[in-house]
Amino acid sequence: VTDEWWEVFSYRGVIGAAVLYFLAMLAYFFELAGLRSAPKEEQEGAVGAQAVLVAPPRTAVAARLGLVLTGFAVAVHLAALVARGLAADPNRVPWGNMYEFTISGTFVVALIFVLSTLRIDIEWLGPLVTTFVVAALMAAFLGLDDTVLPLPDALNSPWLVIHVVAAVISTGAFTVGALLSGLYLAKARSTSTTGYLARVPDLKVLDRLSYRMHAFGFPVWTFAVLITGPIWAHQAWGAYWNWDPKEVWAFITWVVYAAYLHARATAGWRGRNAALLALVGAATLWFNFIGINFFSSSSQHSYAEGAAPETSVVVGLAGPVEAAEEVGVVVGSDHART
C-alpha cells in the first residue's frame, strides 16, 4: 500500500465521515421537527415549560439513529486520521498543518460528545455537535485543504504528540463547553415551550454541564500551553517563552478561561455572565487557531503558513540586533512562508 493510497483513503474517509455526520444531523433535525409537530396535548401533558417532553416513537427512533450515525462517523473519522498519518513519509502523527488540526479537532469534539452520552444525559446536544462538525469539516475542505508533507524539523519531536494531543483535546472540550454556553444564552432568552430550546434541559443543568466541560478542558489546556509548550519551545527555539503570536493568544485564552473559573468559584458569576465569558474564551481559542494567521506573519508555529501574508525574509530569533545583521534563516521551522 503506497502513501498515495493512504492519502486518498484519508480524504475519502473524511468525506465519508462528513456524510455520516450530515445524515446524523438530518436525523436529529427530523427528530426536532417531530417534536415541533407533536400533538399539543402531549406537550401540555408535561408539567411546566422546563419538563422533558415525551417524544413519540418515530422521533425517538430518529434520535437513536442520529446517535448511532454519529458513532459510525466518529469511527470512520478516526480511520481517516490514522490513514492521514500513514500517508506521510516517514509516517507521522496527523498534525502537520491547519487541515490536519481541523480534522483532528472536530474528531475530538464528536468523540467527547459520543463518550459523554454513555455517562450523562446529553444526547440533546446532538443537533448542535453534528452541525458544528459538518460545518468545520466543510471549511477544512474548502479553505484548508493541503497535501501531505513531511514534518519540518522543528515539528519533528515527541513533544508534537504530547503538546498537540493536549491542545486538541482541550480545544474539543472548550468547544463543546461553548456550544453549551451558547445554548444557555439562547434558552435564557427564549420563552418558547416547544421546539429544540424547550427540549434541552433547564438552565441550571446547561450551566453545570458547561462548567464541567471547561473544568475538564482547563487543566489540559494548562498542560498544553504552559508546560509542554514551553518545554518544546525551549528545545526547538532556544527559549521557553518567546511571545510568539500563537503563544500570546494561547495565553490570552488561558487567562480568559481562568477568569471564567475564578468568576464562577468566587465571584458567584453563574449563568449569563459566566456563559458570556466562556464564549469570549472560545472566541480567543478559535481566533488563535485561524484568525491570528492573517494578522501576524512572525509566528514560528509553521503549520499556519498557508494563511500567512507574504514576507521575503525570515528573521533569526536571537535578541535585539541590528536589522541587517539579524537576517538569518530559521532552520527547519518553515520551508515556504514566502
Binding site: L261, H262, V315, E322, E325, E326, V330
Partner: protein, 543 residues
C-alpha cells in the same frame, strides 16, 4: 444554622466589595480602602481580563525584541504612527510600563488575597465538622428511614462507614457529623502560590540569564569560545554577570542537510545536523555532539541551539600589484528562506592602488527566470542546495569608510565616499563567477576569484537560570488546579433518634459546598451511606 453558611466560599475578601467609601478619609483609611479594593475578587478578575486585553497588541504589532526587522519596516511604512506607537511602548508591549503595571498589580492582589486565606485555611484545616443542624430534613439533600436497631448502633456504624469513606468524623449527642474535601481549598492556595513561584522563576531567568547568537563558519579553523567578545549579538538580563558564563568552546566540523528534490515537497530542507566538537573547559577533553533542531546541547546551565544556516563563498581579491588583499569565506545572509538566494559584502581596505568593495548576490542553484513570454528576466536561485552555485558581484572602489575607526557592519558596504566601477558604456560593472572562475577588474584594480563554497551556521547560546523553578511552579500550579477543580468539599450528617413507638428514626443529610456539585453524584453518595447504615453493600463498595 450559621454552620450552614458556606464560609469558605464566602471569603473575607468578598465582603470588601460591599465596603462603601467612608465619608471622611484620612490617609490611613484611604490606604486601607485602596488595599481592600485592590485585593477584592472583582479587582482580581478585572485585572486578569485586562492582562488578556493588554497582551493583544503585541501579537499584531511587530515587537522589537522578537522581530526587529519587521519593526523597522513598519516604521518606514507608517512614519506618522510610529512615534505615537513608540510613546505608547507598542513595539515593546511585554516590557512596557503599562503591561508591567497590570501584572504587578495582579500579583499584589493575588498575594493580598492569598495571605488572609492561608490563615483562614490553617484554622479550617484543623476544624472539626460542624454540628448537625437541628432540622436535617430541611437541607436540599436529605433522606430518612426507620429501623428497629438502637440509635447507638446506627450511629456507631455511621461513624465507621464515614471514616472508611475518608470523612473527618465527629460523634455528637444524637448524631454523627462528617466533612470531606478540605484539600480543595489547599489546591486552590497551592495554585495561587505556584503562580508566584512561576513568576519568580521567569524573573530570575530574565534578570540573570542571557541569550546570544553567533554566525559560525564550518570547519575546525573557526572556533567559538563562550565569552562576550565572541558573540554577534548578545542580550543579557539586567543583573547578568559575565563571570557565570561557562568557559566552553566548540567548532562545527561538518554540517549536513537533506534537500528534498522530488514530489510536492521538493525544495524543502530537513534533517539539519551540525556536528560539533566541543570542550567544556579550556584544555578539557574534546567531545562530539550532533546538534540538531529540537536537540540542543546542554553544557552546565547553558544550552546551545542550531538556529540557522547559509552559504559563505570563498573569495580571493588580488589588488593591482598582484598582492592578495583579501582571501577567505564571506558570510552571505539569505534573503529568501526557501531558495537561499543570499546577499553579502566583501571589503578589501588594504588593496592598492585603491580600496575594493564587492557587493552582490549568491545563488546556490542559479537560473534565469522567464516571464510569461519566455523572455529571460531576473536571475534567481531555484533551489536551496548548491547544485549550480554562482555569485554575482558589483564592484566599488575609493574610500569604503573604514579608515576613521568608526565601527561598521561587516554586512553593509558604506558607499558614501566610494564610487561604483562601471563598464566603458557607463553600465555598472558586474561579474558572475562560478567556483574556480577568476575575473580581472577594469582600471587595473586587480582580480577577483571564486575559489569555493563554505557553509555557516547560526548558533544560539542561552542561559535561563530559573527555568526549572518556573517549570516546577507550573507543574505545582496544575496539581493545585486539579485539586481545586475536582475535589468536592461536602458535609454529611447522620442523626438517629428513638421515637415514641420504640423504633429509631434515622435522618441523613448532605451539603455540597463546591461550586459545581453534581446532584447525581450527591444522590449516589447518599444512597451509598444509607446502604452502609442498613448493612447492605452497594456496587461502589464492592469495586
Amino acid at each position: 444554622v450559621t454552620d450552614l453558611q458556606p464560609d469558605l466560599r464566602h471569603r473575607p475578601s468578598d465582603d470588601r466589595q460591599a465596603t462603601a467609601l467612608p465619608p471622611d478619609l484620612n490617609a490611613r483609611e484611604l490606604a486601607r480602602w485602596s488595599w481592600r479594593q485592590l485585593t477584592s475578587m472583582r479587582t482580581a478578575l478585572v485585572l486578569l481580563l485586562l492582562l488578556a486585553l493588554a497582551s493583544i497588541p503585541g501579537s499584531v504589532i511587530p515587537q522589537e525584541n522578537i522581530d526587529s526587522l519587521a519593526v523597522s519596516q513598519w516604521r518606514d511604512n507608517h512614519p506618522r504612527l510610529a512615534p505615537i506607537w513608540d510613546r505608547l511602548d507598542l513595539f515593546n508591549v511585554y516590557g512596557s510600563v503599562w503591561f508591567s503595571a497590570i501584572y504587578i498589580l495582579l500579583m499584589i492582589s493575588l498575594v493580598g488575597c492569598i495571605i488572609p486565606r492561608l490563615f483562614v485555611y490553617a484554622r479550617a484545616a484543623r476544624a472539626r465538622p460542624p454540628k448537625a443542624p437541628r432540622h436535617l430534613s430541611r437541607l436540599p439533600e436529605s433522606t430518612s428511614y426507620t429501623t428497629d436497631e438502637a440509635p447507638e448502633v446506627v450511629l456507631d456504624r455511621a461513624a465507621k462507614a464515614l471514616r472508611r469513606k475518608r470523612f473527618r468524623v465527629d460523634a455528637g449527642d444524637d448524631s454523627v457529623d462528617a466533612e470531606r474535601g478540605h484539600l480543595r481549598e489547599a489546591g486552590n492556595l497551592v495554585f495561587h502560590l505556584a503562580v508566584i513561584v512561576v513568576l519568580v522563576g521567569v524573573a530570575v531567568g530574565s534578570l540573570f540569564g542571557y541569550k546570544g547568537g553567533v554566525i559560525m563558519l564550518n570547519g575546525e579553523d573557526y572556533g567559538f569560545s563562550n565569552n562576550l567578545t565572541q558573540y554577534d549579538d548578545f542580550a543579557p538580563g539586567a543583573l547578568f554577570d559575565p563571570d557565570v558564563m561557562e568557559p566552553f568552546s566548540f567548532s562545527i566540523t561538518d554540517f549536513e542537510v537533506e534537500w528534498l528534490t522530488e514530489g510536492e515537497r521538493a525544495g524543502m530542507a530537513r534533517e539539519f545536523v551540525a556536528e560539533l566538537a566541543y570542550e567544556t573547559e579550556p584544555g578539557g577533553e574534546t567531545k562530539a555532539y550532533d546538534l540538531r533542531v529540537n536537540h540542543p546541547l546542554s553544557i552546565g546551565g547553558t544550552d546551545v541551539f542550531l538556529i540557522g544556516h547559509g552559504y559563505a563563498p570563498v573569495i580571493t581579491i588580488r589588488d593591482g600589484d598582484g598582492e592578495v588583499a583579501y582571501s577567505g569565506p564571506s558570510v552571505f545572509l539569505p534573503t529568501n528562506a526557501q531558495t537561499f538566494e543570499s546577499f553579502g559584502v566583501i571589503k578589501a581596505p588594504d588593496a592598492s592602488p585603491a580600496q575594493i568593495g564587492l557587493e552582490g548576490t549568491f545563488y546556490p542553484t542559479f537560473a534565469m527566470g522567464r516571464d510569461a513570454d519566455g523572455n529571460l528576466t531576473m536571475p534567481a536561485s531555484v533551489f536551496g542546495d548548491a547544485f549550480d552555485p554562482l555569485v554575482s558581484l558589483f564592484v566599488y572602489t575609493g574610500d569604503l569608510g573604514l579608515d576613521d575607526g568608526t565601527p561598521a557592519s561587516v554586512y553593509v558596504l558604506d558607499k558614501a565616499k566610494a564610487t561604483q566601477v562601471v563598464e566603458d558604456d557607463g553600465q555598472p560593472f558586474r561579474m558572475d563567477l562560478r567556483p574556480g572562475d577568476t575575473v580581472t577588474l577594469p582600471d587595473d584594480l586587480g582580480t577577483v576569484s571564486f575559489d569555493g563554497l563554505q557553509r555557516w551556521n547560526k548558533i544560539q547560546v542561552s542561559r535561563s537560570p530559573g527555568k526549572m523553578v518556573a517549570l516546577a511552579g507550573v507543574v505545582l500550579a496544575l496539581l493545585g488546579l486539579l485539586g481545586s477543580l475536582f475535589i468536592r468539599p461536602r458535609r454529611l450528617w447522620v442523626r438517629a433518634r428513638r421515637q415514641d413507638d420504640g423504633t429509631t428514626l434515622v435522618e441523613v443529610a448532605r451539603l455540597d459546598r463546591s461550586s459545581a456539585g453534581d446532584p447525581e453524584d450527591g444522590a449516589a453518595e447518599m444512597d451509598d451511606v444509607v446502604a452502609a447504615l442498613q448493612g447492605r453493600t452497594t456496587k461502589e463498595d464492592e469495586s
